[in-house]
């Protein structure tokens, strides 16, 4: 299985977009090496703006650029994009429906050693709560590339959450990303893992373990958390009768929240949620933290057993 960090895929995709469309511009807040906007900056220095360590201003400036017909991609770590500049995103970007793409890297706890101050576990929730906002959390490199291109083609605000570390590639070249569409990654009939970001790969591994026990687990990847692909979720609820959501994010307000809100009001179905349980992150190595916060395939298997008992 090939491994690539979603932020690296972003760097490539943004540079490709820059070559195709002169209206693509990029902004960063002193993290262009880490977020990979540096790849674009090298190729198109006149269309790259390093705004310094000033995320709130960067967001407003991006909105201004969008008002002149440019397609700004702004990047920094997710905690400083979604968190620091939240109200600027709400007021200057989402409210006017400005054509700004917020591509936030270093989401979740796999940021690792930097610790809780840098680990955004609430970003998806607070972005999802803003009207007009589209929220995308890709699973792997190929999906990231496709999502970045789709975001550029879409007119309006988009938030894309990417990770720091290399993650296994799940999707092949034939995969077609569409905003608002989920994807069945593993077929199954007894229960469904509804997952996003790097947790989709964990769910694929969990489904393998369950298969050996004679349990047929479906894996549905939700690349776009908002708007949620209601069809694929309701189909999973109807056909398998039990759902486990999983995300590298708080269980409050993220994918689990979105799925539970929808099912509770349309087709009540037993749901278990795997995610960060209302806690801040902490320093440690990414793989240690995945265990510490109970995000391993084994944790998913346990949640599947639990939800099957409630079926």
């Amino acid at each position: 299985m090939s491994m690539i960090a979603t932020r690296d895929a972003y760097g490539e995709a943004l540079a490709e977009l820059g070559a195709e469309n002169v209206n693509i511009v990029a902004l960063d807040a002193d993290l262009s090496g880490s977020t990979k906007t540096g790849v674009f900056a090298k190729k198109f220095p006149e269309r790259f703006f390093n705004m310094g360590i000033a995320e709130a201003n960067m967001t407003g400036v991006a909105a201004g650029l969008a008002a002149t017909g440019k397609i700004p991609f702004l990047s920094t770590f997710s905690i400083f994009a979604a968190g620091r500049a939240w109200e600027q995103i709400r007021q200057s970007v989402a409210y006017p429906k400005a054509n700004v793409k917020v591509v936030a890297t270093h989401g979740g706890i796999t940021v690792g050693e930097d610790g809780g101050s840098h680990q955004s576990v609430e970003d998806v929730a607070i972005m999802r709560a803003i009207p007009n906002m589209t929220v995308i959390v890709p699973a792997d490199g190929p999906e990231t590339k496709a999502a970045i291109k789709a975001a550029a083609a879409y007119k309006g605000p988009v938030f894309v959450r990417l990770g720091r570390n290399k993650v296994p590639t799940i999707f092949g070249d034939d995969y077609r990303f569409e905003i608002g569409k989920g994807a069945e990654v593993v077929p199954g009939s007894d229960m469904t893992f509804v997952t996003t970001g790097m947790m989709t790969a964990q769910a694929v591994a969990a489904a393998d373990i369950l298969k050996q026990e004679g349990i047929s687990a479906r894996v549905v990847h939700i690349g776009t958390i908002k708007p949620l692909d209601k069809d694929i979720v309701i189909k999973a609820a109807a056909e398998t009768g039990a759902i486990v959501t999983a995300e590298e994010h708080s269980i409050i307000g993220g994918l689990g929240g979105a799925v539970a809100e929808f099912l509770a009001t349309s087709r009540p179905t037993p749901v278990e949620m795997v995610g960060i349980r209302d806690r801040f992150g902490t320093s440690g190595k990414a793989d240690e933290l995945i265990k510490y916060f109970c995000l391993t395939p084994e944790d998913l298997v346990e949640a599947a057993r639990k939800v099957l008992q409630r079926k």
Binding site: D30, L31, I53, I79, E113, D114, G116, S117, H118
Partner: protein, 276 residues
């Protein structure tokens, strides 16, 4: 301050530099450049200036220190360990899962750390709040806040500066570690924040400019800041990122890179230390 006291502080700073390098090497993660540029000021504060009691970190009469540029946590941690807030062995647990020494300062975890920082631009506001609170309590404790020069690009820093000037917080002293570098390169090229002193002056601050590696100048400036009435003081300290290890000095590329196995003994040698 007498010459032998200055020399003692210089020696302290030399040993603390070595501790920084060892802990970052052990963690293989963390910020070298900005820890080394700040350590002379931090050594001066903890061992020459501040009133504090390692046996009683929450002692009411203490002066407060806020590391606004939280990524330089190693520089604060070595000072806290040296002062006796926790055992020196703990330094080797930097950034490990379960360690009380988090990647960025965390007041819940580490004795002697006053507030949580790490997201740049928020520390000075917290320091302003402390200065206001201490003044309400008629306390004569002082508040020190250490900022990065790149950090000054955050608008919140200037909101904090405005409020400190407005409330005439003469119990507050900010120190700017003006090493001229941030992650993406030179501060003046990424987003120019100079002139720094004039900006603070315009917000009603008393401004001192010094060489941030000259221990006598640091102590003298801290003393002057304490004498001045009716205004907060900012010490704009011209520093060298990575100071003390020639191959780390003035390189933006060593901002967030720890010493490698090969670099550690070399780096220590430049500090006059040979490990056995």
């Amino acid at each position: 301050m007498e010459q032998h006291q200055i020399e003692q502080l210089q020696e302290k700073a030399r040993l603390l530099r070595a501790d920084i390098l060892r802990m970052l090497h052990k963690a293989q993660s963390g910020h070298t450049g900005g820890s080394l540029s700040a350590i002379d000021m931090i050594a001066a504060l903890y061992f020459g200036k501040m009133r504090h009691n390692p046996a009683e970190p929450a002692w009411e009469g203490r002066d407060r220190f806020v590391l606004c540029k939280g990524h330089a946590a190693p520089a604060q941690y070595v000072a806290l360990a040296e002062a006796g807030y926790f055992p020196k062995e703990d330094l080797m647990m930097l950034r490990r899962l379960g360690s009380h020494l988090q990647g960025h300062p965390d007041s819940k975890s580490t004795p002697g750390v006053e507030v949580c920082t790490g997201s740049l631009g928020q520390g000075l506001s917290q320091a302003v709040g402390m200065a206001l609170g201490l003044r309400l309590d008629r306390s004569d404790s002082r508040v020190y806040a250490l900022l990065g020069d790149g950090e000054l690009q955050e608008g919140q820093v200037w909101e904090a500066a405005m409020s400190a000037g407005h409330y005439r917080l003469d119990n507050l002293c900010a120190l700017v570690d003006a090493n001229g570098l941030q992650i993406d390169g030179e501060v003046t090229r990424v987003m120019n924040v100079t002139p720094i002193g004039e900006k603070f002056a315009a917000f009603g601050w008393h401004v001192l400019e010094i060489d941030g590696h000259d221990m006598a100048a640091i102590m003298d400036a801290l003393h002057k800041a304490g004498e001045l009435q009716g205004k907060p003081t900012v010490i704009v300290a011209n520093t060298v990122k990575g100071k003390g290890v020639p191959f780390f000095e003035n390189k933006a590329s060593y901002h967030g890179v720890p010493p490698s196995d090969a670099e550690l003994p070399e780096a220590l040698k430049h500090l006059g230390i040979t490990e056995d």
